[in-house]
């Protein structure tokens, strides 16, 4: 099962940092997200894109996690050479994670 089957996501940018939310469609799936979607797992999934630390914030009342990925935007939105300099598409990459 892909993360996409139980959660949705949006990515935002600040400098060289990408913030990516992961929100359960059904609040009943939130504990599973909290258990499986660790900062370490997200860091491994974005290896080759995010060069720095990954932090996770929990919002159980909203059934949501918020991930902050440092060094993920090619040195910063305004100087990045990337086609998607804002890293907007990274939310879709997040949803590729296979929860099994």
């Amino acid at each position: 099962m892909l993360l996409r089957d139980i959660a949705h996501s949006r990515a935002g940018d600040k400098g060289d940092i990408s913030c990516i939310s992961v929100i359960a469609y059904d609040p009943a799936d939130y504990p599973r997200l909290e258990r499986e979607m660790t900062a370490e797992r997200v860091r491994a999934h974005f290896a080759g894109i995010a060069k720095g630390e990954v932090r996770r914030y929990e919002l159980p009342a909203l059934g949501a996690l918020n991930f902050v990925l440092e060094g993920a935007l090619g040195g910063g939105v305004t100087r990045s050479l990337a086609l998607d300099a804002h890293g907007k598409c990274l939310a879709s990459k997040m949803l590729e994670i296979d929860l099994r």
Partner: protein, 443 residues
């Protein structure tokens, strides 16, 4: 309990205009806010102002004002916008001119200035978050604009402004200002300022909370995106709010759309640092109220840090790019061969770049390395680099262009471009170093 209805007429400089007109005419609003100023926009606007002293504000300012001013004047809706960009005073004069052209004599326009701290910071040892000092940028420094807070907006409204035009202001403050003014919230009422900040944050990207940037067919369906309605909030004295939109407009408002926007560009949800307050979104709850309405409650706040974030624009060299497509059987191998050829050519001609990027769009330009991925039917080679001069940047596109006659078989559709790179860095300054002022223009 008295409530205020406040709408978002745009979420970025190039946003649609019709949804703002719809809000002005049918939203039952007291305030209409236009957020139009991205991080880099203000640095580009500063350059525009240097070319033309009456320029440097949002290019759609006059079009937006022409579209909404008649309805706003008729209903007493007041407008707040950061479309002043690098030149709020010239923007205010332009708004007054539009009002006169429309026959709306006497319109009172306030320009909030004081966010521009370029001269104050130039040559100082102020540390940049990215490392180094402002002084070390030397003549690469383009601009420095502080994110100022809601107080001068509230003050201008209290003094009778019908339109408030600002430069760099924290986006949520554009909404918080009117709420502070209407409800008389104190500048140290952290809970209410936190709640007002939440309202502003939910509305500041306009359509992004009403179903824009949300649809994923089969998973998240959104009706009528071509007629997406922009949001409005009905806010009470305690700062609790209902997020909704004009009935009959496209899009949807649900706890899911609101939660995506709540976390958008937020780091620690318990400490969303703003010039007015350290807002706390960690305990926010969303409750659906029938169709396309969501009650949001439970935000809080703590004392502000006393420091303002400053967006520092600087020259970062020149960006050069070339693209060409390969398709059909063997598209990927021909694309990869073409990348090797360009790489080798740039080496042979002694091309110099600070950083280069070689990739195949459709394969590995967005998601990273493509090991094991299925081969696409078509790919687009993309080579991009950042160089010290426009001439050096131009050589990248030239080498891609020359693949037509000198590269692998059946490449087509070359595009190339060169542009100046204005980068944005940031630093913090004590809030006393930015001194907001209110300037008046009357139509």
């Amino acid at each position: 309990m008295r409530t205020i209805r406040i709408g978002a007429g745009s979420g970025f400089s190039g946003d649609r205009i019709e949804p703002a007109v719809e809000l002005a005419e049918h939203g039952g609003l007291q305030y209409l806010v236009f957020e139009c100023l991205a991080e880099r926009t203000i640095a580009l606007a500063q350059l525009a102002r240097r070319r033309d002293p009456e320029g440097g504000y949002d290019p759609l300012l006059a079009a937006r004002m022409r579209a909404v001013l008649p309805a706003c004047r008729r209903q007493g809706i007041r407008i707040v916008t950061n479309m002043g960009a690098a030149n709020p005073l010239a923007a205010a004069r332009r708004v007054a001119q539009v009002a006169r052209d429309l026959g709306l004599a006497g319109l009172r326009v306030a320009a909030v200035t004081g966010d521009d701290v370029t001269d104050r910071l130039r040559g100082t040892e102020t540390m940049l978050d990215e490392g180094g000092t402002v002084a070390a940028l030397g003549n690469r420094l383009v601009s420095a604009n502080a994110y100022i807070g809601a107080a001068p907006i509230a003050e201008a409204l209290a003094a009778g402004a019908e339109v408030v035009v600002t430069g760099r202001v924290a986006d949520p403050a554009l909404f918080l200002g009117p709420l502070m003014r209407e409800f008389g919230w104190a500048e140290d009422d952290w809970t209410r300022l936190g709640r007002g900040t939440l309202v502003g944050h939910l509305l500041e990207c306009a359509g992004q909370v009403t179903g824009g940037y949300f649809a994923d067919p089969g998973f998240k369906d959104v009706p009528d995106l071509a007629r997406l309605g922009f949001p409005l909030a009905e806010v009470d004295e305690a700062g609790e709010a209902i997020i909704t939109k004009v009935p009959g407009s496209g899009g949807r408002v649900t706890p899911a759309t609101c939660t995506e926007q709540l976390l958008y560009e937020v780091h620690d949800p318990a400490r969303y640092l703003q010039p007015d307050v350290a807002a706390d979104f960690s305990g926010v709850r969303m409750e659906p109220l029938g169709e396309d309405a969501v009650r949001v409650s439970g935000a809080g706040g703590a004392p502000r840090t006393g420091m303002l974030k400053v967006s520092v624009g600087c020259h970062e060299g020149w960006f050069g790019e070339g693209q060409i497509s390969y398709a059909g059987p063997g598209a990927v191998v021909r694309g990869r061969l073409a990348l090797e050829v360009v790489r080798e050519r740039l080496r042979l001609i002694g091309h110099e770049a600070e950083e280069m990027r070689f990739e195949l769009v459709g394969l590995d330009s967005i998601l990273g390395p493509a090991e094991g991925a299925a081969e696409p039917r078509e790919v687009r080679l993309r080579v991009a680099g950042r160089c010290a001069s426009p001439e050096e940047a131009e050589r990248i596109g030239h080498e891609v262009d020359s693949l037509y006659l000198n590269g692998p078989a059946s490449g087509g559709g070359v595009a190339k471009s060169v542009r100046e790179v204005i980068g944005i860095r940031s630093c913090l300054i004590p809030e006393a170093e930015a001194r907001p002022q209110i300037n008046w223009v009357e139509a």
